[in-house]
Point group: C2
Chain length 338, copies 2
Amino acid sequence: MADKVTIADVARIAGVSRQTVSNALNSPEVVRPETRQRVLEVVEELGYRVNLAARQMRTGRSGLIAIRIDPAGDGINGSVFDRFLHGLTESAAEAGYRLLLYTAGDDDKEIAAFEDLLGAHEPDAFVLTSTHHKDPRTSWLLDRKLPFVTFGRPWSELPEVPHPWVDVDGSAGTEAATEHLLATGHRRIAFLGWPSGSGVGDDRREGWRRALAGAGLDPTGLSRATSDAIADGEAAARDLISGDPDITALVCASDSLALGALQVARSPNPAWHAEAYRRIAVVGFDDTPVAKAIGLTSVHQPLTEAAARCMQLLSRALERTPPGTILLPPSLVVRQSA
Amino acid sequence: MADKVTIADVARIAGVSRQTVSNALNSPEVVRPETRQRVLEVVEELGYRVNLAARQMRTGRSGLIAIRIDPAGDGINGSVFDRFLHGLTESAAEAGYRLLLYTAGDDDKEIAAFEDLLGAHEPDAFVLTSTHHKDPRTSWLLDRKLPFVTFGRPWSELPEVPHPWVDVDGSAGTEAATEHLLATGHRRIAFLGWPSGSGVGDDRREGWRRALAGAGLDPTGLSRATSDAIADGEAAARDLISGDPDITALVCASDSLALGALQVARSPNPAWHAEAYRRIAVVGFDDTPVAKAIGLTSVHQPLTEAAARCMQLLSRALERTPPGTILLPPSLVVRQSA
């Protein structure tokens, strides 16, 4: 294949330095008109494109926003990130930005990736996901005064320097799920979540607890924690249900856990339609395509809106206005399972 | 927030031109040692990062691979692209590249995006998905001798200039699905696909037809075409089944269509487990998370491998070796539905 035309080609053929080519394109006032004319003719002749190099020198902006992408998981909860990513790409495009993807196995590797990205591509801003307690990534970016927004609130004690974030109010989601179950007659409602210590997981458990407390019900013994996989959800649900015959409903921290719980909830009388769910009502979280396909009631996160709001806060950060924070309400999508 | 340090800052403080800063970093042999020393000290002092501008001038490579991302759909078939994207990001990272995402509503807009991307970010290569008959995007890239690979074969008459592509053999997938049904005793096996004219859809129909022909069975009247949505699949399956009481199995061009077909296949005796599928066996295509969650037998595409192979062919294209093409075999994942 033919070589790409470079600024050096233009400079050579026009008989000027590369800097003069760059100036002719970006700072014409510092170049003599006849020189500029000659450069532009060569640019036209060779089909040279004003490149990022020149543009970056002029504006100090790359037009790139960097975001981490993880290896594909079970495809259930990963779909939340994917929907967010699709939305963010659209919102970024509307604001004149494009997304640059990178990978990183842990926080330290992600910080190394920040350094590498800044050296190689100079992204104008970062979008971080999966925020967690004592997140070193936000401190690193704050220390360097680099614009970023997190999808996920800062879970630690408030950082000394605030930063922009967008999140969905998970506890409001599980609270609404639990209140829906209370309103439909359930009194002994258990919670299936993740081990305590994760900001997102603890928040979702808190919403369930709050709803029970509001109804004057005691949550003691009604919560189980496990890792986020279908089989683990099934085992934990079996443990809960077999140990407490009065349980009639389960609120789950994810659709993966809810899918596992459904395997238990449906037995011993499995069936497909509404009858299927008579024994134990199950509510999931995230309203994944799987939930829609199997009739699982689930808490829906407004991911397209979250992505648009992230872009909105990033635009403000790029203009160096004080950081904003946005907590979006989720909604409960009621289907056959509860 | 503080300004980003630019090459102009370094030049001003070191008392040299921007070109000299660039040379000091990239072509030290053309700069006097004491000048280089002074520039490096200022670079260190200001925390200036060698930027893409300088790097691009030197290598002519941006390290970026551009790929289009579409708005989120129903989350079922879109998961195929998402899994491919996750895999491609990983493979690209191993080869020292990163992905740049862009959006485009149609072929013309995508070609406009190519122009814009080339002007703004100079991607080294493109990965195209959703190839189709008379695809103008490939001609455009071929005309300009820009490196690219398509995930999806060229569906038109062979292009005059071949280009690298990776695809999964869809007809082998539906053929295997149909042979599985034949082996388990089914004789009247219908196909639920998309309107003819789409390369992917016609190919999947062809595999089913081939398997029936191999068993000496007549496919006449056993094929329906509809758009790719659950409700459309349900309507088309109902039409097929009600019009031919001998049909005992359905091969579908997607998991979305198969999900619709299952609504019909399960009635009038709906149930959750193996009994559920006694009446009409259903096979989907793509082995999406939904298929796994509901026990749908489906054709699995090796998407992580496809992504790795795309990267492999791109690496060859970037070295200007002749284009390669790779057709990967799919596999049938047998679950309860067939």
